[in-house]
Amino acid sequence: MGLLSQQYDDGNIVLTSVEGVLNWARLCSLWQMSFGLACCAIEMMAASASHNDIMRFGVLPRPSPRQCDVMIVAGTVTLKMATRVKRLYEQMAEPRYVVSMGSCSNCGGPYWEHGYHVLKGVDRVVPVDVYIPGCPPRPEALLEGWMRLQEKVRDFTIVKEK
């Protein structure tokens, strides 16, 4: 049921639930942590640029994990970086979400067998909400993943278990 469907005639009053309006506000302003790890970050930047314009979803890149809702893990997670990724995740305020972008952060990608230094999937250190396949995924794939995340946020319950 859409937010504006229970609208009164004069247009100034809308009936909804607290949860509905909170989740709607939240999913329309998911701020991302601005960091990229490898070539997937180039596609992530392309998604932010004017042609794809991920900002129309309310996505703002923020330089501090304290101000972020979503961490896009865009690229190869080395074991050296994994400890940093985990710490950044822990520094984010809840509710927080993780988008795993590309084969490397999904499962190790091309480094799955001989990458002695690569973490075989970022879900070994942080919980992942959306996995985006591709090597690297096109910006459209990131937008699709973002909309999946928004659907997830829309169903978030604060008051009671559904």
Binding site: L79, K80, T83, W112, E113, Y116, K120, R124
Partner: protein, 158 residues
């Protein structure tokens, strides 16, 4: 254009008659005994006939037959000539004198060779790992390297 490897080898052999320098035809290079690498490096840098002012690359190698190697690719900007020096050492005594003070760029190259192949450069001022984390175990580009099961609680194999 400048001297060939063979000419340089003959020239250096006259200066260092006891060094036992060998010219290797397969890939043009000069085999240098490890103990003399620093002296030879200073000579080829400062000799007006050679003037190798630039260290283009310093590589650590595991040949897989129980020996390790360090390969020095040198370039002379002024005389437009190139030179490759090679040092071979047994795995058990993976120790080579540093050329950090001869070409300053060697500092990071030697740290990389130490990090990945495990060659210790004697006299290096700051021989730490450069790419891998400091608490890493082993040297991954060794042929007998085994991937560790866990690193800091994270499972490593797929």
């Amino acid at each position: 254009m400048g001297k060939t490897h063979e000419e340089i080898c003959t020239y250096l052999s006259e200066l260092f008659p006891d060094a036992g320098l060998e010219y290797d035809d397969a890939v043009p290079c000069i085999n240098v005994p490890p103990a003399l690498i620093r002296e030879i490096a200073l000579q080829v840098r400062d000799d007006a006939e050679l003037a190798f002012d630039t260290l283009m690359c310093l590589s650590g190698v595991d040949f897989g037959d129980g020996t390790l190697g360090v390969v020095y690719h040198l370039d002379s900007m002024s005389l437009r000539q190139k030179l490759t020096l090679k040092v071979t050492i047994p795995v058990a005594e993976a120790c080579v004198p540093t050329v950090e003070r001869v070409w300053r760029i060697a500092e990071w190259h030697e740290r990389e060779a130490y990090d990945l192949v495990g060659i210790v450069f004697q006299g290096h001022g700051d021989l730490r790992r450069i790419l891998l984390p400091e608490d890493w175990e082993g040297h991954p580009l060794r042929k007998d390297y085994q991937v560790q099961e866990f690193y800091n609680g994270m499972k490593v194999p797929y």
